[in-house]
Symmetry: C2
Subunit: 347 residues, 2 copies
Amino acid sequence: MLENSSRSEAVDFGKESLIKHLGEFFKLHNPSSLSGIENDASVLSFENQLVLTASQLFMEHVHFDLGYFPLRHLGFKIVAAAASDIIGMNGKPSQIRINIAASNRFSVESLEEFISGVRYCCERYQIDLIGLDMTTSATGLTIATSITGTATADHLVKRDGAKESEIICVSGDLGAAYTGLLLLEREKRVFEVNPNQQPDLSGYEYILERELKPEPRLDVIQELAEKGVVPTAMMNVKDGLANSLLHICRNSKVGCTIYEEKLPIDTITFETLKELKIVATTIALNGGEDYELVFTIKQDDYEKVKNLKSISVIGYITTETAGKNLITNDNCQIELKAQGFQPGAQN
Amino acid sequence: MLENSSRSEAVDFGKESLIKHLGEFFKLHNPSSLSGIENDASVLSFENQLVLTASQLFMEHVHFDLGYFPLRHLGFKIVAAAASDIIGMNGKPSQIRINIAASNRFSVESLEEFISGVRYCCERYQIDLIGLDMTTSATGLTIATSITGTATADHLVKRDGAKESEIICVSGDLGAAYTGLLLLEREKRVFEVNPNQQPDLSGYEYILERELKPEPRLDVIQELAEKGVVPTAMMNVKDGLANSLLHICRNSKVGCTIYEEKLPIDTITFETLKELKIVATTIALNGGEDYELVFTIKQDDYEKVKNLKSISVIGYITTETAGKNLITNDNCQIELKAQGFQPGAQN
């Protein structure tokens, strides 16, 4: 991914010229962006709106492998991932700051590739780049994002509002991104053993796209707004459905029951996992980077969402003492658990 | 710095328990902080205020060396550095988010050391920690900060407002932090050659503190506000005075003349640089991490600031065509230049 027909050294550009050069790829969309990337701090103005902020850190060799992750897709993905943190609170993302640490392995052209992906996602979701800074890395590429968005007080949704007997919904389908990642890793191993063998990834486009170019679900929160539905609790699904749902339960002091048969899993995801001899339900519950939304709604709102194609009902909220449970396809009740933090693993 | 009598493995804690544990070291100070670290995004509310945001990325082996940089000081410094970006626009810092990527070399105790420094600086400047996230690093420690602050429209100061014949001021003294760093690096080399030799750093406390525990100049912008002075242009001095002043000139489309004899250099800085056989003026102009302020004021405001101990007048603004000049002690005029971006060097 780092090879280009021409290569300009970042050192020849000078830090400030390079930032200015890369910044020229962007224009501002939001009236709240009073300044762009030109100052140490950016100036924003939000009248009568709540301001939402979120930040993420992406490390090469931990969160992405440039061996199979094109830089342009990486640029798109880091903006999409940041946006999904704001969307997960029913907010609208509006500004992003990006700090890049790159070793001298990265040419100006490779940084432009990355930035073109950032721009593509920024344009798509009307997010303004208001900060861009570069520094040096001893090894590899590190990217930090800091995103700002807005919500009105009556539309903001946190994790703590779920109540007994409310309905649990999830957007899109689950486990596709992680399945795409497993496939890319398999192909990388094949390539390492036999560099002449070209990877055959046709038929797998959907799951690869879910891993390499995820779309945050701004469309879902817009659909809910159009239907007049404000979820009672919501969270972005980035570390697996189980993790997000357990967060909602813990914060709302409730329990939940979800059904294995209701979990939305795409056919390609399912077939690929079968081929890889992995249980699809495990990945739907624990696979990362779906960037879908899990949320709870009042029973009265069910009629408003039941025909929305982007939403699946997967279960309901119970009392805290009833626990957090999954009802399997063979009608067993098992406790819902999330995978823990493993330093050295992808987190 | 990583050795402790007891050591708890981060992996045993689980990511979320660890974040919760470290988050318990903090309480909120600002009414604009409607939520703390508990959600993907933080909720802020600013009425009729401009919102300022800034972000920074700190990489081990590039921006700090844990061989001589205590983790507690590092925690303090990253908050101080972030705050200085807001203060450099005449704003008041109010909230910070911190993302940490740590390899499994770091125990819970070492992360607590770091967090205790973060807390000390947050308490000192009444900054609320509203985001704390942790992830894995393949090598070393990486820290990303994202800070929010406020300013009113009539007090916000950018880089583009300097006009001909205005006065150039700088706060505190220059070059001390970089001189402290040179000293620490020298002692590290001595220690590597002879591990039994204890470093003798007595007498150097001031410059070491400037490197290890810099104080952002919130006091200076408060003093200016008390005197009724709003600078016409301002910038945080983090990559050397020359760099910041050239930014102001470029953005304001003006030139400048500053005097070598007026550059504020502390006696210990001067003597240490003499001992190291380095010209003090070079370090005052180009040494990084001073976190002082350089700003321009109208001539009419001179009377209001001339007795402030924390401020030195170092020159004046000229027309753009007159260039950016330094008048040396032997009365030569030389062009003011900033050091460029060097991947692999500290930036």
